[in-house]
Amino acid sequence: MDPLILSRMQFGANISFHILFPTITIALGWVLLFFKLRYNATNDSAWMRAYFTWVKVFALSFAMGVVSGVTMSFQFGTNWPGYMEHVGNIAGPLLAYEILTAFFLEAAFLGIMLFGFRRVSNRVHTLATVLVAGGTTLSAFWIIALNSWMQTPAGFEMIDGKAHPVDWWAIVFNPSMPYRLVHMLIASGLTVSFLIAGLSALRYLTGDRSESMWKALRTGVFTAAILIPIQILAGDQHGLNTLEHQPQKIAAMEANWNTGPHVPLVLFAWPDEAAKENKFEITIPDGASLVLRHSTSGIVPGLNDYPGLHPPVLPLFWGFRIMVGTGILMLIVSWSATFFLKRRHSLPKPLAMLMVPMSLSGWLATLAGWYTTEIGRQPWLVTGVLKTADAVGPVAGSHVALTLAIYLILYVLLLIAYLGVLVHLALKAAKDGDTSPLPGVMKTAMSQPAAGE
């Protein structure tokens, strides 16, 4: 089998599995800090119960993120040596800064955040939570900077086929970086909001009416309701940025075969790349022109301008629609749940039942969005600089296929175990309710045991 397509599948599988967990930890760190600060301010132990339930989810997600992240750091060398050979001078420092400023920070203070509650003062524990949350976000900053540079490279010059840095500010804050970072951070916030809301709805359905359940439920639902309109706006701005810098990606997302004015918005279709047309299409006349150019006669780029250099149409068209569709569903669910929680102080059973599977809606939207933007970069690995096919390593296809198969089996099993533990933790919290013994929360630290004590 072809090592190129197998290596792409393997990288796709590894990074898809990996991204699930940072998407949770980036925002969950801040939610935990919120629980902690609410407790510090109100002395209400229900906040601390919510904290202890969700810090376990954080610990497990963090571990999954770390081990799959270690895999990523090796993948560059094992499967894509051409990547570092050609753009290592740019990618290297960005990755190095991620490791130095973010990875160590979060790893070192994670221990204190998870297990140090009785070892350090409450204030130091809160600080450790801040540092872990800050570390995960900083990590997102660096990796998004690198990813965005691959999409819209800037601030470099090519010497003998290798990229050399010229302006680091332009490299880090390349044209698509601010949009992508905002879009991803809010995506993380939504993923966590729906996870918390969904698992709290599961507790609600089992009859749990404890204070910690209400607090977690409200936090999840209200945060989602606030974030989703902001995300829709941020996504729209990100789309306009893509139109400016990567028009071929937009052409594929909209399945628009010919550049021109009065382009309809395609709601449903089966894009046929061989025939260069859409089958079974349902459209809104002039829709795409209106959305992208704010005028019915606006010119929308078509795939005909990029022969052989545009991404595959089918996955982009559908990836984008799955993301947007999930977003709209998120809007409806979070706003109606907000209505019932605010006005009726209860949750209708059908809505709660819908919220349980919606726990994973953030994952679905995030993955669909990432597939859209990453497949949308093809055939380039670094737009205009390096093609994916020129970076793949010399490893035999059979080796890549074997390892890919084992990775996939491993990831499926781990995902099942992970989701099983989430449900188990939620049901355990529901059973304990407000009766679980709350660990002593102290303002000052216990005395440190001396060595040899």
Partner: protein, 334 residues
């Protein structure tokens, strides 16, 4: 000779990478070792052993990411050559690291009946990762030779390194626990030391035959004289540690950290010897550190960050170890 950055920077980064690998081997060495010792520990002991490494393992493993990261960013050519040649062993290592990393967390969160399964996965992941690291080291020493001889040599180093990790794990248990478990750990340490010593002897005997190049680098006059402290000091430390094990644990638990520090020193000496064997190559006989290095301006900006951040990392790592100093108690989230 004037100081010029294009010559100095790759050298500095080779040093930093070596340091990161050494710190990784020592730190993750003890928690991988504890995973290996899981196979001979009782259920209750396993909880204490986990508590002894729980707050640290994550940061320990980050040193591996830094080491690979430095290889990736400072020597991109070498990164590609080494990792494509070691494709399958790297994969095995990663599967091992994934399994043990998640088992660590799963065992504490799954319903009680399933805990046993994750304990076994923790052991399996640890031993797989240790063996893979040793195998990769062996193959790398031979210049990425993956012939029959290379595989045999790699297997030998794999056993040796796993035994050494088990010794580190036992030494850490001696430091972090007390009572019956501590006594048991002394016995584990002795067994692991015997296997490590046999393995080291076999590896030392095999190296000159397996790699005439390394043999030539060591056994020429006068280098032999300058290098002689390395093996002699290692041997003395080893014997001293062996004698110590008869008196452990000491009254009032004095010097409980000493076996661990001694082993760390032996690792450091062995590492210095390895570094000498390779210098100036980063891919044995193929790429020197200068040939494989990134552009000077990229290395400079990484170095600037490293000089500022590394001391901070070392400072807060010490702080984290201090917070969880003393004997391991039950690990709880609250």
């Amino acid at each position: 000779m004037s100081f010029d950055w294009p010559t100095a920077l790759p050298l500095i980064f080779a040093g930093l990478m070596g340091l990161a690998i050494l710190i990784y081997v020592i730190l993750d060495g003890f928690d991988l070792g504890i995973g290996i010792l899981f196979s001979v520990a009782e259920d209750a002991e396993q909880d204490t052993m986990i508590a002894a490494i729980g707050p640290f393992w994550d940061a320990n493993e980050t040193w591996l990411v830094l080491a690979v990261g430095l290889l990736l960013v400072a020597f991109p050519m070498a990164h590609g050559v080494i990792l494509t040649a070691l494709y399958l062993p790297v994969f095995v290592l990663l599967v091992g690291l994934i399994l043990r990393g998640v088992a660590f967390d799963f065992r504490a969160k799954v319903p009680a009946g399933k805990k046993h399964r994750w304990n076994r996965i923790f052991f399996l992941g640890s031993i797989i990762a240790s063996l893979a690291q040793g195998y990769m080291l062996g193959v790398y020493v031979l210049g990425l030779d993956v012939g029959l001889g290379g595989i045999a040599f790699g297997a030998l180093v794999a056993l040796c390194l796993s035994a050494a990790y088990a010794a580190m794990g036992a030494a850490w248990v001696i430091y972090k626990t007390e009572g019956e478990l501590q006594k048991k750990a002394v016995a584990w340490l002795r067994t692991a030391l015997v296997v490590t010593a046999l393995g080291m002897a076999a590896v030392s005997l095999a190296t000159p035959f397996a790699s005439p190049r390394i043999f030539a680098k060591w056994f020429v006059w006068p280098e032999m004289l300058y290098l002689s402290p390395l093996p002699i000091l290692s041997a003395l430390l080893f014997l001293w540690l062996w004698r110590q094990t008869f008196h452990l644990p000491k009254p009032d638990d004095r010097h409980a950290l000493r076996p661990f520090l001694t082993l760390a020193a032996i690792f450091a000496l062995g590492f210095a010897g390895l570094a000498w064997s390779f210098y100036p190559f980063v891919v044995p006989d193929k790429l020197t550190i200068w040939q494989a290095a990134s552009a000077t301006e990229s290395l400079a900006i990484i170095l600037a960050g490293t000089v500022v951040v590394l001391p901070v990392i070392i400072f807060y790592s010490f702080y984290a170890y201090r917070v969880f100093g003393g004997k391991a108690t039950d690990l709880t989230y609250d």
